[in-house]
Symmetry: C2
């Protein structure tokens, strides 16, 4: 009964609404016919929810315009305050060190042989302490293990000692003869030795996998695969030598254990060893020229940005930072974060696009997946997976998956990956600076709680805010670490007295 | 023959390509079966054109994050440099003037009657020089013309004198008694009188249209429209009084010529008069409360922004601006443009959304089209059509279309619109400041070449760059005008000596 009454009521209401609608329409028609040229009608403002309007794309352009203007203003302010500070002489000083022995780092990097010679003659080093020795030693041990001269256990122990030596060598060398390497030179040396370490780790592990497989049922598998490829090429093989070529092209363990192979692996832009890398057919000359131009221009932009913008900003932040003047420190940090972030972006492009593509093109290396779209990452886990796929691929293949296979939990395995990453970040900063703090290490390990925070943001506030969290951690986290290291560097090199003296000015 | 050969060649080539493809596939299958867990494949980097990748949405968030950080830094820098400058006493001073007679502008705006009384008593003005007189005079003349007491020509002449008086009155009053009005009070008075002027113009013109129509075939048309509405409501009219209501609701000339009608028109948020405005059925209380809250908070934010950010910025820009120190002037201008632009955005929202919607809701005015999506404007013509539809509608209906109807070209008509707009911009700035330069006028007239530039940008470089041009003209044009006026204001009030003295500091 009640529902029937309800229905009647609704019917009445909708009727009266219809009537009101008709009435309004009729009124509107008559109104429009009047001679006063009516120009108003029923409508909401666009900012009212009821208008249903949501096209605010123009504000994206607005943001970029304001950003560009802010950048130009900061540039002008900087020029007016400090004048032009760019001085190429300082670049050479940073790269090669400043006490007359300008060629240490350059020689160390460019020619292994002359470097070794130099080390023996000038530094009176008793043995050839070169990066090239562990590489060939590694090959030699692998050959011996393939031929079953060494047992698995003994060979593995020697390999571990061998790669540990690779990572300890620059520590000792640079700490002992710190004045002979510039800051930038020392960083590049550390970087090179880190890369050799990671590559040898991969080389040793892959060869181990191959030996295991060989001991089991390698021959059976290989036969199968060849017959499979035979079946693919059944008709054509009668005309050309497709299958034979396949068999000729693909290297099978232990044929890979030769000098040419390991040297090629050392030069190509990947940390993961495999027996048959995908190769391009030809070298594109235009591509190479573009990458070289990007590198030349980019490096100069980097150096100029650094001298003109970062150094004064860092210097001016030191006093408020030491005095723990929080508001002023935050202001300085925010001011430092913009040029620092720009520098990082340029560096990313130069290193991961221009440089690695250049190297890849020269060595016919076909896999150019050096980075993915980290700028769209909605949480920091995705960011770490995407921003440096070269290292991420290595960590996945040689640390994470082997650990999970052994039986460790996923959390333990990913913590181990972050631990190794944190170690190398610390290594690449502390050794060249000559001060052993743990800010970079702590910063990397903080990524584990940060990933929870950004995943929480993504889950509860949508992917946009997750992405914003990732950007904020990038833009703000780095200058904080830089300030901490610079602060400690100044204190350990010039003493607290200097800062106190500055504080009075 | 040649084509046949070509075809054969192509066929051969594609065959060899297919074979190469098959070969590569086969090679890949065998490679994947090897025990070295291959992880590389043929692929390009995302930044290479050949990758076809173009999802850079994350950089939109990046821009907003950097913008927000830059804003917070500027706020902090400002606080550290100047401390807290917000002082509500100054607000009252700006609004009401400073020599003990604090109520001039408030009374002038809030109560017409007490203002008139005040003017007679305090300023010893011989006659009631009120905004209210021209309004009622206008109504009186229209009534006389409707009753054919005045001829069209005489009535029109009187009306022109009447509305000219409306615009000259505040010029004389404010210039003569400049110390009795604060700067903000004087601006608001000028704004009010400008609005009365534009409304009366519309009122006079619409009534003229109605009289013309009446003289021709008004009665015939009205009969038609009523019979049309009759036909719509044929069935319902037997039950209720739909049609009668329509006829009762719609006002027909000259029934509109009464005090209630003209006073309602003066209060509602539109400049275009018509006989039957669309009206809402009820006043939404929540809507009103929201708009009031926005206004209260917004006005305080505006005042605080102005005192804390704009005033120091303008003061610091004066010296480089006077000395024609170009680089420094540009830097100052860019620094000023950000807070100025933010102020303008907040002001836009408060005036065009909060205030006009509030007034509209109170007076049951249903047409809330006060602005359109100007932020998406791809050239400055579109911007001027969209950002202030209240004035644009007036200019279109009462200047542009009548001029085009008479036979002027579209360019002349739109130039006339810009000319009137330029006059009012100048009027609203020069009269309160008490200095008659032509920067605002020139700025508005420069919109004509600017519109060509932005349309060129849109046509040749796409809508995005057109939109960027519009934003740049907005963000950079305004602070330039402000600096010019401030500079001239200081010079005319304090003399060049002051600036030279500052210059030595």
């Amino acid at each position: 009964m009640a529902t029937q009454e309800d229905k009647n009521l609704r019917l009445k209401r909708s009727k009266s609404l219809n009537q009101a609608d008709d009435f309004r329409k009729c009124e509107e028609i008559v109104r429009q016919l009047q001679p006063d040229k009516p120009c108003h009608k029923y409508q909401d403002s666009l900012f009212s929810w009821s208008s249903g309007f949501n096209d605010f794309n123009g504000f994206v352009n607005w943001a970029f315009v304001l950003l560009m203007m802010g950048g130009i203003r900061l540039l002008l302010e900087n020029l007016l305050k400090y004048g032009i500070r760019i001085d190429p002489n300082v670049w050479l000083l940073l790269l090669f060190g400043g006490n007359g022995k300008e060629h240490n780092a350059a020689l160390l990097l460019l020619t292994f042989v002359s470097y070794s010679y130099y080390m023996i003659r000038k530094l009176k080093f008793g043995f050839i302490s070169d990066g090239i020795v562990p590489i060939f030693l590694s090959l030699f041990i692998e050959k011996a293990m393939a031929k079953r001269i060494f047992s698995e256990n003994i060979g593995f122990a020697i390999q571990i000692i061998n790669i540990t030596y690779v990572i300890i060598l620059p520590m000792i060398l640079i700490t002992t003869y710190s004045k002979r390497f510039g800051l930038l030179g020392a960083t590049t040396v550390c970087m090179t030795y880190s890369i050799i370490f990671l590559k040898l780790w991969s080389y040793i592990q892959v060869n181990m996998w191959c030996r295991k497989q060989r001991n089991e049922k390698l021959l059976h598998k290989m036969k199968e695969s060849v017959s499979f490829s035979n079946c693919l090429h059944k008709e054509k093989s009668s005309n050309n030598k497709g299958v034979n070529e396949v068999n000729l092209h693909l290297v099978i363990y232990p044929d890979n254990l030769n000098i040419q192979d390991i040297v090629y692996f050392m030069f190509i832009p990947t940390l993961c060893y495999e027996l048959n890398f995908p190769r391009t057919d030809r070298i594109r000359k235009r591509f190479i020229v573009k990458r070289i131009l990007e590198l030349i221009i980019g490096v100069h932009v980097l150096a100029a940005l650094f001298q003109q913008w970062i150094i004064p900003s860092v210097k001016h932040s030191l006093i408020p930072f030491t005095n723990m003047d929080i508001l002023k420190s935050i202001e300085r940090m925010l001011k430092l974060s913009i040029p620092n972030h720009l520098l990082w972006l340029v560096m990313f492009y130069l290193l991961f696009h221009s440089w690695l593509n250049f190297i890849g093109e020269i060595f016919h290396f076909a896999d150019r997946n050096f980075y993915l779209d980290w700028w769209n990452a909605t949480n920091s886990n995705v960011f770490w997976r995407k921003w440096n796929t070269v290292v991420h691929r290595w960590a996945l293949r040689h640390v994470y998956l082997p650990m999970v296979d052994i039986g460790y939990s996923k959390f333990v395995a990913s913590t181990a990956v972050f631990f190794i990453s944190a170690f190398f970040h610390e290594f690449l900063v502390s050794v060249p600076l000559g001060i052993f703090r743990s800010w970079a290490f702590v910063g990397m390990m903080l990524q584990i709680p940060l990933s929870s925070v950004s995943m929480y943001m993504e889950k509860h506030y949508g992917p946009r805010l997750g992405n914003v969290t990732v950007w904020l951690s990038l833009i703000l986290g780095q200058p904080l670490c830089i300030m901490m290291y610079y602060h400690d560097y100044v204190i350990s090199h010039y003493g607290k007295a200097l800062i106190e003296q500055f504080g009075h000015l």
